[in-house]
């Protein structure tokens, strides 16, 4: 029985023969960790993403309740290049990890990474802080992309996240989603300097991060008043509504796509997380 890596490589070689005209282009390796409850969402996001970021995508679907084995599927996703008859193909490697294999993803992923290109890991749901699967992927990836609005236990979970900052660059989709609102708040300078209360209608994570950002940038306390909503709908400072950002809100693929364009640590985000707790 061939190893998983050998199976993947053989299958990729076969697919490349069938798509000989397609250009193989990658700008990164994109690893996605998606437990069963997140599998469908991960596939949906990927469908809107790999046309934007040609990459080798390694989809990891862990399920410790299943048999101790690794299931493999490999496909090439080819897209016509705008304004050209040529195609560009991205590689999608789907690995279904069962039983104890869910605890050793690092050794499976590492030989499949594309050398010299950055590796992003999108972690779906709340990461299992301190567990081997998270620890291993943190060690092999350059950037961890989370969406803290998927988490329960906020703001406490930000403490565990902050513990990773010195080991891996972190992006948070909840933070990306608030960019337009942060721009609006920044445009209120210097009136916003003396703000006492920030009111946010939207996901709790987005509200906590906005408040943490204001506190850390202004180096003074800002009280948060939060009303829950699925989207960031309204922001007000000391009761005065802040004009909404222009344009429609980005969808999940676009938000992840924006995070995949960022390299290196984001000290402003890290400070916002620390002040959100």
């Amino acid at each position: 029985m061939a190893s998983v890596v050998a199976q993947v490589e053989r299958r990729l070689a076969e697919l490349r023969v069938h798509h000989a005209e397609g250009t193989r282009t990658s700008v990164m390796t994109h690893v996605a960790w998606a437990p069963p409850q997140w599998a469908a969402a991960a596939r949906r996001t990927l469908a809107g993403l790999d046309e934007l970021h040609p990459s080798r995508t390694i989809l990891l679907f862990p399920d410790a309740r299943k048999a101790d084995r690794i299931g493999v599927d490999v496909e090439l996703r080819c897209f016509t290049i705008p304004g050209s008859s040529r195609e560009v193909c991205s590689e999608v490697i789907e690995l279904r990890l069962g039983g104890d294999r869910t605890r050793v993803p690092g050794s499976i992923v590492e030989p499949l990474l594309i050398t010299d290109l950055p590796t992003f890991c999108r972690w779906r749901g709340l990461p299992p802080w301190g567990k081997p699967e998270l620890e291993q992927l943190v060690d092999v990836c350059d950037r961890l992309v989370v969406d803290s609005s998927e988490w329960r236990g906020l703001p406490g979970a930000y403490t565990q996240l902050a513990a990773l900052f010195d080991r891996i660059a972190v992006s948070d989709i909840a933070w990306g989603r608030s960019l337009g609102w942060r721009g609006r708040l920044a445009s209120l300078w210097p009136d916003v300097k003396s703000v006492k209360t920030l009111s946010v209608t939207g996901p709790r994570a987005d509200a906590l991060l906005l408040a943490g950002w204001l506190r850390s940038r202004l180096t003074r306390p800002v009280k948060l008043s939060h009303r829950s909503a699925p989207e960031l709908e309204r922001v007000a400072v000391d009761g005065e509504p802040v004009p909404a950002p222009r344009g429609p809100a980005l969808d999940a693929s676009d938000l992840l796509s924006a995070e995949l364009d960022v390299f290196g640590r984001d000290p402003i985000y890290e400070a916002a997380v620390s002040a959100a707790r």
Binding site: T23, I81, R86, V88, A186, W189
Partner: protein, 503 residues
């Protein structure tokens, strides 16, 4: 208040695009082809991506008598026809709300008063803050009148900028004259001379390729490069522009601006930073270093009847509006030398023409052959020198031709291409050059616009070539439409033991 104000801790780390100040764009020549095909599709693309200022308006100025409503309908049609994006009615309606049209002869005081009124109306209704971006999309003969009117009526409220379309003059003297007119009323920082080639992503990528990669610059010189070929080919003819083309020819239409800019970007020294003056200082040094080519180093041509993509097309002299004995050139090939330490004795073979087999703009850097390939039996057959090929258009990207072993017994070497395709690596459609340039002008960034001294140097070279042409009458037509130019162009490069790149 400005979000970029110093001391605002909230702007730090915001990954927001720099947003232009509120302003009004005034397009002179608002019913012309350029406005319909390029300017409005670009404005629409910027509006769609929320890159225009929040407070923005457009005043269209042209001689055609029509209402604002009619003009908006015409521009809407143009956007539907020429924009790179699908039409979004909401985006268009937002843009159209800030559009006004003024029908006037540019010389009429009363008409200019109405332009001022329209702008005042936009300031009041849209909050354009008195900032003005004037776009002169007009024939050269209307230029002086408009510039003088604008200069005399310039307000002290807000900033003022002028985008000036090519052709910028007809020769060095006329370019000087235009610069004098402009500089009577406006500073160089307020003047944005467009060469739309500089707005192309792939042209800017030349700078990224050279100066963001450690591997190229050490070999980007006479020691490692055998020669450089730059091709600006068009398969189309003059497309009804006979009046312009008869006066301009390819030397003024393409060589003086696009082609020499590509030479400058290829040959320039690394700028200390990417500011307008740093980049343009380096480009102008190259233009000043260009050796005036002798008559044998320049070949001109004019197309005759031929075939393009299987269709018979007329010769240049048979085009409507062209004199039957016209000596206007539609093709130029030249061997240029950049007389400096880096490029001494390294030829730049450049060519541009109409009715060539295909539309293609490329910069080919041909490196010297390997000094001693140990594969004697195949040398000269499959193995060609390495070529770094920059595809400006179409198929935007970069490819490197390298020798690779053909699988199997023996040591057969064949040239293969390693390709980087823009559309492959970055899955977004490339912005049109005019989008970038209009946005940069709104932001006051002149890096991708040509400065007066660059234009001056470009015309100096062109004047020298044209002066030599006046001494003899060419035997035109001398290449059939659908070919790669006259035999003389092949001879020009063959004399040096080289050949034009294979297509």
């Amino acid at each position: 208040m400005s979000s970029r104000e110093d001391g605002n801790p909230l702007v730090e780390g915001l990954r927001l695009r720099r947003s232009p100040d509120s302003c009004a764009l005034v397009v002179f020549g608002a019913t012309g082809d350029l406005t319909r095909r390029k300017i409005f599709p670009a404005l629409y693309a910027l509006a769609l991506r929320r890159l225009l200022p929040e407070r923005f308006g457009v005043v269209g100025v042209a001689r055609t008598e029509q209402t604002t409503k009619q003009w908006i309908a015409d521009m809407k049609k143009a956007v539907r026809e020429y924009a790179r994006d699908d039409f979004d009615a909401q985006v268009w309606n937002e843009l159209a709300e800030g559009m006004r049209y003024v029908a006037t002869d540019f010389a009429e005081d009363e008409g200019q008063d109405r332009v001022v009124d329209a702008l005042r109306d936009l300031d009041e209704q849209r909050g354009c803050s008195g900032n003005r971006l004037y776009y002169l999309a007009v024939p050269p003969n209307a230029f002086e009148t408009i510039v003088n009117e604008l200069g005399e009526r310039r307000s002290t409220d807000g900033w003022i900028r002028l985008i000036v379309e090519k052709p910028f003059g007809h020769d060095r003297d006329s370019a000087h004259r235009l610069n004098e007119i402009l500089q009577q009323h406006f500073t160089e920082q307020e003047i944005f001379r467009i060469d739309h080639y500089l707005g192309k992503e792939t042209v800017q990528n030349m700078l990224a390729l050279r100066f963001a990669n450690g591997i190229f610059e050490p070999i980007w010189n006479r020691q490692f490069i055998d020669h450089i070929q730059i091709t600006v080919g068009e398969s189309i003819g003059i497309e009804g522009r006979a009046a312009f083309y008869e006066e301009a020819g390819v030397i003024r239409d393409v060589f003086q601006n696009h082609l020499l800019q590509l030479v400058a970007l290829t040959a320039m020294e690394p700028p200390i930073d990417f500011t307008a003056d740093s980049v343009r200082n380096e480009k102008v040094k190259v233009l000043r270093s260009l050796h005036t080519p002798g008559p044998k180093s320049v070949v001109r041509g004019q197309y005759g009847l031929g075939f393009i993509e299987g269709e018979e097309v007329p010769g240049y002299r048979e085009e409507p509006g062209v004199a039957s004995d016209s000596t206007t050139e539609t093709y130029i090939a030249a061997k240029l030398y950049v007389d400096n330490w880096r490029w001494a004795d390294t030829p730049f073979y450049v060519r541009a023409g109409k009715r060539l087999p295909r539309r293609e703009t490329t910069i080919a850097i041909q490196f010297q052959r390997a000094p001693h390939p140990p594969f004697a039996e195949i040398a000269g057959e499959g193995l060609r020198p390495n070529v770094l090929l920059i595809h400006v258009q179409p198929d935007e990207g970069v490819s490197l031709a390298i020798g690779a072993k053909v699988p199997g017994a023996g040591m057969n070497i064949r040239t293969v291409h390693m390709d980087f395709l823009y559309g492959g690596a970055f899955r977004t459609s490339l912005p049109e050059a005019y989008e970038r340039l209009i946005l940069d002008a709104m932001l006051g960034d002149a890096t991708l616009f040509t400065r007066s001294d660059e234009v001056d140097e470009q015309w100096g070279l062109v004047d020298a070539i044209v002066a030599a042409w006046k001494r003899d009458r060419p035997n035109f037509p001398n290449y059939p439409a659908g070919s790669w130019g006259p035999a003389g162009a092949d001879e020009l490069i063959r004399r040096d033991g080289r050949s034009w790149r294979r297509h």
